[in-house]
């Protein structure tokens, strides 16, 4: 019988681990990120807490404790999802280094996304967990009510991180057509800030804007994982959120696959 292929020698597993290990090479940057997260978390927590209090202790379904959970879970995810719109692939297309990626017998898309997901997963430890601890200590944030909520929350979080990096990958492939993609990054940053739920929960939006938000993959990156992780939605509603996330994951992966295939034919590797 043929031996089963080992996971630790699977190239895609290696990309994931390379992402984790590469990120751990920069502990100072990680600490700086945590400090920034915590500072803005305190600010945001103050503002959102005041908003909930001023509307009589309940705002769009959020109590003080669940709003605190929204704020600190969101801060905790900032190192793990990409809201800047910038990526390694973008740089590598511009410099021509992407040629090296195409000279490997693997999917370029999977390799890039998994490396980024690896970096995102690593960031959960030094940036995600401390943010949650701070949230619990300073604001008494709500925690998932039971084990099922933890499990669903964790799944939703992993899918959210993957949706984020799969979307960024697809966006970066625009570099095959555009010479300069900084504008695309800025647009992405602006949209993602609103629609991921970075600034406020998207449920505070007027109906029409909420509809627009739900027509994008952005809520699947942060808002939905936060909903599920905080226990704000449970049971079937949580399952539905995860279902929507999976649909968006399939969509952005398909888009990235097609743009890679078409873009490769347009690649004009500059210089040497």
């Amino acid at each position: 019988m043929r031996p089963l292929p080992s996971l630790t020698r699977n190239p895609y597993w290696r990309f994931l681990v390379a992402g984790i290990r590469g990120q751990s090479a920069y502990p100072l940057a990680t600490v700086a990120g945590l400090v920034a997260n915590a500072t803005f978390g305190l600010l945001k927590g103050g503002i959102m807490g005041a908003a909930v209090a001023s509307s009589g202790g309940e705002l769009a379904g959020y109590s003080a404790a669940t709003m605190a959970a929204f704020v600190w879970l969101g801060q905790g995810m900032l190192g793990s999802v990409n809201l800047s719109g910038r990526s390694d692939l973008q740089t590598r297309i511009k410099s021509g280094d992407v040629a090296v990626d195409f000279l490997r017998p693997v999917s370029v898309q999977a390799a890039h996304i998994l490396t980024d997901v690896g970096k995102g997963l690593f960031a959960l430890l030094p940036r995600g967990l401390p943010s949650v601890v701070i949230g619990v200590l300073v604001s008494g944030m709500a925690l998932p009510p039971d084990a099922a909520a933890y499990a669903l929350g964790l799944a939703s979080l992993l899918i959210g991180i993957t949706v984020s990096h799969a979307t960024i990958y697809a966006v970066a492939t625009s570099g095959f057509w555009l010479v300069e993609t900084r504008g695309v990054s800025v647009l992405y940053m602006a949209l993602s800030g609103f629609f991921t739920g970075l600034f406020t929960p998207i449920y505070l939006f007027p109906d029409w804007l909420l509809t627009v938000a739900l027509l994008t993959p952005f809520p699947s990156m942060m808002q939905f994982p936060i909903d599920v992780l905080s226990g704000q939605v449970t049971g079937a509603a949580a399952g539905q959120r995860i279902g929507v996330q999976l649909v968006w994951l399939a969509v952005v992966l398909a888009v990235g696959h097609l743009t890679t295939r078409a873009g490769r034919r347009r690649l004009e590797v500059q210089g040497g």
Binding site: R14, G22, A25, A99, R104, V106, G272
Partner: protein
């Protein structure tokens, strides 16, 4: 079997329209109807001036650039349609780009690449050990790639391209920026690899020493088409790839003319230093030196090899005539 086969391979780059003429896009023919074949086991130097079309050809050979017209097969595969199958059988080093993981130790990069190429664990150990020994990489195996010197990094890059024992190794400017000793080591290694594994080698370079020591066939490309295809000796015969013997004399001397097998090029410092050109096909440096020593006292000497630029320029002149 032909490892590389191109027929009428052409690549035209279209630029952006300029201000003066908005409706016409500038066109640049980088590779122009190139037809060539390279057989298994050959070692080919692909040389030409900057912008002659060397890199463009290589990019089409490995499928990272789409030809405008013409056909190309590499190790019997279609580079664009069979990208992954090709990647398993070809190794490529671009001197200016890295295939290693910047933040990870060298050995980690080797290990990841071994997984990418599905090398069995035992095979990975053997092959890595072999390459580490031959390229003397033991001392920096645990160092993150970003901390390597250029010479160390190039050795690691070449090793990375050879881990999966490719049939065809393509090196684009592998010795650029390397010191004499590093160049020498790399060349010796490549010669040994070819002897052991019969790897086909295609390299572009600006270094005549690379070509002379590594290649048994030279292709000179000019404006995207072949200007020369032959052996190094043939090249030397065509352009007279002469060497220069530079002698520093004990006392100023009149120009050393009428020497057997050597020609006076010029004198410097009032005759204290003289440059003599000779053809290594016809005589040796020792014989020229002996002839000089009969006339004057030599304090010091050096030998300069022809610049690849000069050789290329000579070829261009010969073929355009």
């Amino acid at each position: 079997m032909n490892v590389i086969e191109t027929e009428d391979l052409t690549r035209v780059f279209t630029g952006r329209p300029n201000r003066k003429d908005r409706f016409r896009r500038p066109r640049h023919v980088a590779v122009d109807g190139l037809s060539l074949t390279v057989e298994a086991g050959e070692s080919v130097g692909y040389i030409g001036a900057n912008g002659a079309g060397k890199s463009t050809t290589i990019k089409m050979l490995v499928g990272i650039l789409v030809p405008t017209s013409g056909a190309v097969t590499t190790v019997g595969l279609h580079p664009l349609k069979q990208r992954r199958a090709l990647a398993r059988r070809v190794g490529v080093v671009f001197g200016q780009r890295s295939q290693l993981w910047w933040d990870l130790p060298v050995q980690e990069s080797f290990s990841i690449l071994s997984s990418i190429h599905s090398l069995p664990a035992a095979d990975e150990r053997v092959r890595t050990a072999e390459l580490v020994e031959m390229l003397e990489m033991g001392e920096f195996l645990a160092t993150p790639v970003r901390q390597l010197s250029l010479g160390q990094r190039m050795r690691a890059e070449v090793a990375a391209a050879l881990l999966h024992r490719p049939e065809l190794l393509i090196l684009d400017e592998p010795t650029i920026g390397l010191d004499v000793l590093s160049k020498q080591r790399l060349r010796e290694f490549l010669v040994a690899q070819r002897r052991e594994h019969g790897t086909t080698l295609l390299l572009t370079t600006h270094d005549m020493g690379d070509v002379e020591r590594l290649c048994d066939r030279i292709l000179v490309v000019d404006h995207g088409s072949l200007a020369f295809d032959g052996t190094f000796d043939g090249l030397a015969r065509t352009v007279g790839a002469r060497r220069e013997l530079v002698v520093d004399l004990a006392a100023a001397s009149p120009d050393l003319v009428d020497l057997d097998g050597a020609e006076h090029v010029r004198s410097e410092s009032g005759g204290l230093r003289q440059r003599l050109a000779f053809d290594p096909q016809r005589t040796t440096a020792a014989r020229v030196l002996a002839a000089v020593s009969e006339r004057v006292e030599v304090l010091d000497l050096s030998i300069t090899e022809p610049d690849i630029e000069d050789v290329v320029r000579e070829i261009y002149r010969a073929t355009r005539r």
